[in-house]
């Protein structure tokens, strides 16, 4: 049996759809609230975990495979095998600020940035020679500039709607991200035929 860690949240539905298209027979019940379930043929066990935890489960080998956003993989240096770009869950990591306040060219040292992506944000600002104070957030990052907690935010944007609703606009783009199929570096060898069979079927339906 293969154990697969899936990201709770916006990637979950697409990930389950992909598994279904790749021939995994999922139970009919509502899966969105489950933490753990198996397919009907008992060939795959799924763990539903926080997106940031997916690569950790896979790196330690508690899960053989995982589906996680490239943003999460980039945020820390995990030793994993990245098997497929699954093409869904397209987002951009951006710097955003209140409308009219900042432009990419006028970002200056001394700013405060709120973000869940501390490492990516640090690398981005360091690369531009800017000393920016980073504030680690765990959610609702869009609120930070409104109440003066930070000057800018670094966050993931899909459509830009949430930014707009909160009076924010994109100042600069850091990178694009999509969902990836990742595998544990040793399990991918000890379970090579099973893992490649599933990955191959996924690849064909992308």
């Amino acid at each position: 049996m293969l154990t697969i860690a899936l990201s709770k949240g916006y990637l979950l539905n697409e990930a389950l759809k992909l598994c279904g298209a790749a021939g995994v027979r999922l139970p009919a019940a509502d899966l969105s609230r489950k933490l753990e379930f198996t397919d009907i043929q008992q060939k795959y066990r799924f763990l539903i975990v926080r997106p940031m935890d997916v690569p950790v489960y896979v790196e330690y080998g508690a899960a053989d495979l995982g589906i996680a956003g490239k943003d999460v993989l980039r945020e820390n240096s995990y030793k994993l095998v990245e098997l497929l770009d699954l093409k869904f869950g397209y987002c951009r990591l951006v710097v955003a600020a209140q409308r009219g306040r900042h432009k990419a060219a006028t970002l200056v040292s001394g700013l405060r940035a709120a973000t869940k992506y501390i490492n990516s944000a640090a690398a981005y600002f360091a690369g531009r020679g800017l000393d920016v104070e980073l504030i680690k957030m765990y959610g609702s990052v869009e609120l930070a500039p409104i109440d003066g907690l930070s000057d800018v935010i670094v966050d993931l944007v899909a459509t830009g709607k949430t930014l707009q609703e909160n009076g924010l606009e994109i100042v600069a783009e850091i990178y694009d991200t999509t969902a990836r199929l990742v595998a544990n570096r040793v399990k991918v060898k000890s379970k090579y035929p099973e893992i490649m069979a599933l990955a191959g079927r996924m690849k064909r339906v992308l």
Binding site: A62, K189, K191
Partner: protein, 251 residues
């Protein structure tokens, strides 16, 4: 988060027992023990250290202001010894070591900042003959420890290191999404290949998500210390052997 730790009874006894079993196998195969210093001048070792080990090492200045290094591995020290002090000793040389190594970063899962390695190095036996001896010895050691279903996957590091830079980088990161194709089994690697020139292999058991040890051929390493010598060897991580035995219910 990694930290150093105390090892208490009865764990120490288990670890000693594992070391005794492996030592018996490699001594019987004609390998003699070498002891190298825990720390030495950075200058003396740095030429032979691959970049990832330089980055990972603890370095400090002694009272004279000379830069020192806590050894991040022992293979490089052995290569220094046989490339310089033992340069005139006629091969083949069969050497082994066991001791703690220290790394501040770049740790694999299952590695602590201080971890214990036991390994062998075979010098002046080039090509397949030396490689066969080392692989047979690695298997015999795993057998002696009492592990079941262990596997030893071989690949050719020399061929991978000759690939175009982009493909090599993608393989180093194990990023097959970037390569746009699924991996062949020989392309799946758990560790950086920096100093290997030919055979490279990794040992693992299916119960665990990380390797127990690795080895391979590194014919260019001794040259930086004075004399080029064909070299092939392997090292096991003692902590991981313990974890593997536990995972197989053999503690």
């Amino acid at each position: 988060m990694k930290i150093v730790r105390d090892i208490l009874p009865p764990d120490v006894k288990l670890r000693r027992a594992i070391l005794t079993k492996i030592t018996a196998v490699i001594e019987k195969a004609g390998y003699a023990e070498v002891m190298t210093p825990t720390f030495e001048e950075y200058e003396q070792l740095s030429a032979g250290l691959p970049a990832h080990l330089k980055d990972a090492a603890y370095r400090f200045f002694d009272r004279r202001g000379v830069q020192m290094i806590l050894r991040p591995d022992i293979t490089t020290q052995i290569a220094r010894v046989v490339g310089s002090k033992m340069a005139k000793v006629k091969g083949p040389l069969r050497l082994y070591y066991s001791g703690d190594v220290y790394r501040a970063g770049q740790l694999e899962i299952g590695q602590q900042n201080q971890f214990y390695q036991i390994g062998v190095e075979l010098f002046d036996v080039p090509g397949a003959r030396g490689e066969k001896e080392i692989i047979a010895l690695a298997k015999a050691a795993l057998q002696a420890v009492g592990l079941r279903n262990y596997r030893l996957d071989e690949t050719n590091a020399g061929r991978i290191n000759k690939l175009p830079l982009k493909a090599r980088e993608a393989l180093r990161r194990q990023d097959f999404a970037a390569l746009g194709r699924l991996p062949r089994i020989s392309e799946l690697l758990a560790v950086d290949l920096d100093y290997y020139t030919g055979l490279y292999f990794e040992c693992f058991v299916p119960e665990m998500g990380y390797i127990l040890g690795s080895g391979g051929r590194y014919d260019n390493l001794c040259a930086v210390f004075g004399r080029r010598r064909a070299a092939v060897g392997f090292a096991f991580n003692l902590d991981k052997l313990v974890l593997a035995l536990e995972a197989q219910g053999k503690k």
